[in-house]
Amino acid sequence: MQVEQERHIKTAVKCEGISKTFETKRGKTYVIEEVSLEVIENEFVVLFGPGQCGKTTLLNILAGLIPPTKGMVVVNGKPVISPGPERGFVFQSVSLFPWLTVMGNVEYGPKVRGIDKETRQKKAQYYIDLVGLKGFENAYPNQLSGGMKQRVGIARAYCNEPVVMFLDEPFGALDAQTRYLMQEELIRIWETEKRTVLFVTNNIEEAVYLADRIILLTNSPVRIKKEFVIDLPRPRDYTSEDFLLLRNTITKMMDKTL
């Protein structure tokens, strides 16, 4: 019975034996080795690991931005070979289109996919309101703060109606307090507009606060070290007893890079 029940829960992202090696002048560097993982629909999974240990490379492979040297990725039942609109991506440096207003940025996805002006602007307005930027539709990126730029990045990815959202350390450049705010905002948005999320970070507090499941990665080469199911009730409290305990055990398990 258990297996039966398993099947009707749809798998959103699945990858088998993913490896990645880069050819450099000084010979081959093994960045990722034999990573296999499965993410079920509407699950918030955090890829957590020390420093720059190739987490971003793994995320780029899962999103189809760069090809793996070995192994295969399946998203939403279809093999991933190139970037595609069913996978939304928020980059670490956000990189909005500087010449487009907030509205222009958010509606860019539907626009290039040929959706008519009226429907796409209505949808874009919905997501702009969802991320709390009502009233900033005509602002240009160079007029926005760091936190606001992140919100536009998230709205832009959502507006493309992706099945899976990939976020690569989006709050890395924010100060500690704005970061807490953005983490709470992200969870609020995720709970209103459920999507499968793959979130990369090297901040343990952020990982424990956001994740349904944390995949702890080793240092380079990247391998899966351990998986932690986080079943703390939401909204989570950064200074609660079990939050701190969980955070401490994962930090201890983490590879030391220095």
């Binding site: 991506f89 289109f97 240009y140």
Partner: protein
């Protein structure tokens, strides 16, 4: 606080220009410099008088219009071709491989060095001047836009791809807009290069235009005419630059960094 900063700097500007003119005036009045260099008052009056009384064959205004009529159309044509070639060379490696070698031979040759061959090819009339102006604008604009199109931010391109843009859309919605600041930089430099070229071409062979004013003053050894020619060239050059900067600040609001 800011307002009086601007008032302060323009007041200082007025003072320093006045001092400069005063020194110039006193030098021409009380030293032997006076007999080869006219005093500023003479020059300024002659300049304004020149708009009514003809300088040589035409009034100052007509000379300026003649020069502008040569510069504007072929500056625009040269810039347009420059923008197209610059972006294609910058974004498509194959186009770069084909056009770059020939362009690299032509680029270092200053437009003025083309004067003799352009007269051989297009005669001494307007044709050679048009060709030179086209060339001046074309070379500088292509160079600036080419460097711009080559430094399109790869992360932004990846963003667009992730959102589902195809190659053609990447070109039109990402490469073109992000090259706009470089296009304006090119237009600005191209303008000063074209303006210098028309002045030089008119000095070599012409019967009207601001270049003619200053070269013909040589035959009559009339330094007042030379100086009003220089003042005319300077003011028109300055006004043209302001116009381009004005267009840029309107079209390019998103790019605070504007040159």
């Amino acid at each position: 606080m800011i307002v009086n900063k601007r008032v302060q700097s323009s007041a200082a500007a007025a003072v320093s220009i006045f001092m400069f003119l005063l020194i110039w005036h006193l030098a021409t009045r009380f030293s032997e410099l006076g007999n080869i260099l006219p005093s500023p008052i003479e020059v300024l009056t002659a300049f304004f008088v020149g708009f009514v009384v003809p300088v040589g064959t035409h009034t100052m205004f007509v000379h300026i219009v003649w020069s502008l009529s040569r510069v504007i159309p072929f500056y625009i044509l040269g810039s347009a071709v420059g923008i197209v070639l610059g972006i294609t060379m910058g974004w498509y490696p194959k186009a770069e491989a084909v056009f770059r070698p020939i362009f690299e031979i032509i680029r270092p040759i200053p437009p003025l060095a083309w004067i003799p061959i352009s007269i051989v090819w297009f005669g001494i009339g307007e044709g050679s001047k048009w060709f030179l102006i086209f060339l001046a604008a074309f070379i500088t604009v292509t160079m600036n836009v080419y460097t711009g199109a080559k430094v399109v931010d790869p992360v932004i391109v990846r963003c667009a791809r992730m959102l589902g843009a195809n190659e053609r859309q990447i070109f039109t919605t990402i490469v073109l807009p992000s090259s706009v600041p470089f296009i304006f930089a090119g237009l600005q430099v191209g303008l000063s290069s074209s303006w210098a070229t028309v002045v030089a071409a008119e000095m070599i062979r012409s019967s009207e235009g601001v270049g003619w004013i200053i070269i013909s003053s040589l035959d009559v050894n009339d330094t007042v005419q030379t100086l009003i020619g220089i003042v005319g060239i300077g003011t028109v050059g300055y006004v043209l630059a302001i116009i381009i900067r004005g267009i840029e600040s309107k079209l390019c609001k998103w790019n605070k960094r504007g040159i």
